[in-house]
Structures are given as C-alpha cells and as structure tokens.
C-alpha cells in the first residue's frame, strides 16, 4: 500500500496556516526590533572605550552566539520560571529571540560603526555639528548602509529561528503544523506546505530589503 498525497488538509485548514504565518511575522518583527535596540546598545558598549562596558558587551555577544538558541529558550522559559520569574511561552519566545538577535546584531552594528573613519567625525565637528547630529548623520546612517546586507541576512536567519519557539508551545506557524500533523497524520503535505510558506516569507523580506536598500542607501554606491 503506497501513500497517496492528499492536499485537502491544506485547503481545509488554510485559515490556521494564515493565522500561524501572521503570528510568526508578529513574533519576528517584535523580537527583531527589540533585538536591534539591544544590538545598538551593545555596539555602543563595544565602541565606548570604557573597559567595563566593553567586557560586558563582549561577554553578552560571545555567550549568546556560542550556545544553541533552543537551550537559551529553555533557559528563559523553564529556568526562569523555576526561580520565580514566570513568563507565558509567548513572552519567553520574544525575550529569547530578541536577546539572541541582539547578540548577533551587536557585532554587525559594531563593524558598521568602526567602519566610519575618524576623519569623517572630525570633519563633522569642524562643521560645527553637535554630538547628536554627528552620531545621526555621520555615524548612524552611513553605518546602516554599510551593515545593511549582513543585517538583512541575519534578519532572515532570525525569522527562520522563530520556528524553534514552537518547542515551548508558542503558537506560530511551526506549532500550527505540529498541531495539524498530530490530528491528521498528513505530515508530508503539512510540513512541505509550511516550508513553502517560510520560503515565501523569506523571499518577500529579501525583496523588500532590496527595494529599501535602493531607496535609502542608493547614494552609497557612488561613495565607494
């Protein structure tokens, strides 16, 4: 008896899949924005010249980049709740994803900041710009342009990693798949379809990233 593919399970549960995909996008967006904030703070610590701030940032980055995300997630969800800090699975998921993304983006943002020549900052001072203006116009925007490609690939990785939070029963796309699989046993159809949904999400993100790059950092091509 061979196995015949039956995709009706997809069509019958399309609503579930869409809800799951939206949840995944919400999860990704929240945690990436929070993580980016952490990354900027971390990068400021790394480049501050203050030895203590620098070591704290280094420890943060190296610890979270050299341990698996699943362990970090379990640590936040099960570990913290055992010492009295209870979180819902969704909160733990956002926290773990944000902190993980923050570690990666710290290094990316730092590379961007260090890529800005000292002479440029001095030129800004000579023009009489204040500290905030120098940071925004001379450090931040060109640095963003420099780091944009690596940031986008890290964002794509972060989106794919949201699937891991299904393991603490946070209800996103992968969780929907496991739930439907356990009820219908149509595992190949369901997981294949979900893989395609992730692929589509990734493509949309990459395409919009390309369009944004052309719109906002297009000027940088001429600088190089």
């Amino acid at each position: 008896m061979g196995y015949t593919l039956n995709y009706s399970v997809i069509f019958n549960n399309l609503g579930f899949f869409i809800e799951g995909a939206i949840a995944t996008l919400q999860l990704a967006m929240t945690s990436i924005l929070l993580g980016l904030l952490l990354g900027i703070l971390g990068a400021l610590g790394r480049t501050s010249g203050n030895r203590i701030l620098n070591s704290v940032a280094v420890a943060y980055v190296e610890f979270f980049r050299n341990t698996p995300f699943l362990i970090q997630l379990f640590f936040f969800y099960f570990g913290f709740s055992s010492v009295g800090l209870r979180m819902t699975s969704w909160q733990a998921a956002v926290l773990a994803l944000a902190i993980n993304f923050g570690a990666y983006s710290t290094e990316i943002v730092r590379a961007g900041i260090e890529g800005i020549g000292k002479g440029q900052i001095e030129a800004g001072m000579a023009l009489g710009l204040n500290k905030m203006q120098i940071f925004r116009r001379i450090v931040l925007v060109p640095a963003l342009g420099n780091i944009y490609p690596s940031l986008v690939s890290q964002i794509v990785i972060a989106i794919l990693f949201t699937s891991v939070v299904s393991q603490i029963s946070a209800e996103e796309l992968t969780f929907v798949g496991s739930y439907l699989q356990s009820r219908t046993f149509r595992s190949f159809e369901i997981y294949f379809f979900i893989s395609l949904l992730y692929l589509v999400i990734v493509w949309i993100v990459k395409l919009s990233a390309y369009l944004i790059q052309r719109r906002f950092f297009g000027f940088m091509r001429y600088v190089r």
């Binding site: 008896m1 061979g2 196995y3 593919l5 190296e62 610890f63 980049r65 050299n66 341990t67 698996p68 995300f69 699943l70 362990i71 970090q72 379990f74 640590f75 099960f78 570990g79 913290f80 709740s81 055992s82 010492v83 794509v156 794919l160 990693f161 949201t162 699937s163 891991v164 299904s166 393991q167 992968t174 798949g177 496991s178 699989q181 046993f185 595992s187 190949f188 997981y191 294949f192 979900i194 893989s195 992730y198 692929l199 990734v202 493509w203």
Partner: protein, 216 residues
C-alpha cells in the same frame, strides 16, 4: 537511587555531549561532501547543471532547520513507507542543511578569485577541471577556511534541534534531566556551558584565521 547531585548531572550531560559531537562531525563531513558537489554545480557554466543546485540551496537556506527535520523524520517516512530512526533522520537533515550553507560559502570564495586567474589558466591550455583544480581551488580554499570554521559553530548549535525528533544528545538529555530533577535553571546552565566550551574555541579559531588572512 534517584539522587541527582551536581556531579551526577554534569556527568550525564557530558555523556550525552558525545552524541552532539558525533552528530556534528557526521553532519559536517557529509555536508562538506555534498556541499562540495553542490558548489561545483553552482559555479558550472551550464544552466541545467546550475539550476538544481540553486533550487536546493535556496530551499534549505530559506526554510527553518526544524522544518527540514520534520520533513525528513515524519514526511519522508510516510511518503516512502520507511521507518527512519531519529539517528538517520537527524543525519540526513543536518547534512542537507550543512551542505546548502557550505556550498554557498565556498562559491563565494571561488567567485572572489579574480577572473583573470581563470583566463590565465585557460590561456595555458588547461581544461575546465584542471583550471579549477590547479589554479582556482588552491587559492579559494585558503580564503574559505575562516568562514567554514565559523559555520562549524552553527552546525554544533544546529544539532541541538535534532532533540525535537527524539534524538538524544545534549539538549534532549538536559530536558529530560530537568524534568526529573525540577532544576531547569541549573541543568540548562550546565548544558549551555558545555555548548559554549564546544563552540567558543571554534569561534576564536575562525576569528584568528580571518585576521591572519587579512594581514597576509
């Protein structure tokens, strides 16, 4: 008998670490082999050779590793009516995952070789494979070592996801021990430290190789 001391927990976790290491080595060796073939296909001048590798790389880089594990473990076993063990499924999924990324890393180093090198090799009368083997690869390999070592860290961390299909390695055994001892904070901390000891030296090595390369 149910006496879990700190030493006990650490010892059990270290025993499970063996399987993390074995799975990482298998995935890296298998992924390297498949990845090399994929890379050859990817840089081929022939479209019909190139397209399958592009699709393969795009699929495995654009979908979550967890989904690939599910597809192999649950999907393939119902589709072909064969029972894959967690071992086999984890090996297959991690190999395909690793190969897609390594192929892309290596393609990058090959494309970084100036095209003049290809042209010079052709001018010497070498055929395509000789150009590749004698002129291009020796230069590209040097360049590809740091990112390859860096990716090894991702592979070690990736093996933790094999726990979701029931493969007993470090993460799985940490989860089971924490279920019995009710000490998730302690158990996952130890597991994290063990992973860190596996991954951090690789990260350092990758960074050092990279800086050596720059100063050369």
């Amino acid at each position: 008998m149910q006496d879990f001391t700190l030493t006990n927990i650490t010892y059990s976790l270290l025993l499970a670490t063996r399987w993390t290491i074995v799975l990482s080595l298998i995935a890296f060796a298998g992924g390297g082999l498949v990845g090399f073939l994929l890379m050859l296909m990817r840089i081929s001048p022939l479209t019909w050779v190139r397209v399958p590798s592009v699709v393969y790389i795009e699929f495995f880089q654009g979908t979550p590793l967890i989904m690939q594990l599910f597809l192999v473990f649950f999907g393939i076993s119902v589709l072909f009516q064969i029972n894959l063990s967690a071992w086999e499924a984890a090996t297959i999924a991690l190999t395909t995952y690793t190969s897609a990324f390594l192929a892309d890393i290596w393609r990058g180093s090959i494309e970084a070789i100036p095209s003049g090198q290809w042209e010079a090799a052709r001018a010497l009368g070498l055929n395509y494979f000789k150009q590749l083997r004698r002129i291009i690869l020796p230069q590209a390999v040097k360049m590809s070592v740091p990112p390859t070592v860096g990716f090894a860290v991702q592979v070690v961390k990736g093996t933790s996801l094999a726990s979701v299909i029931g493969f007993v390695e470090l993460t799985r055994s940490a989860a089971s021990i924490s279920n019995v001892t009710f000490q998730p904070f302690l158990v996952f901390s130890i597991a994290a430290v063990i992973y860190f000891c596996l991954c951090f030296p690789l990260s350092l090595l990758s960074k050092r190789l990279e800086s050596q390369f720059v100063f050369e």
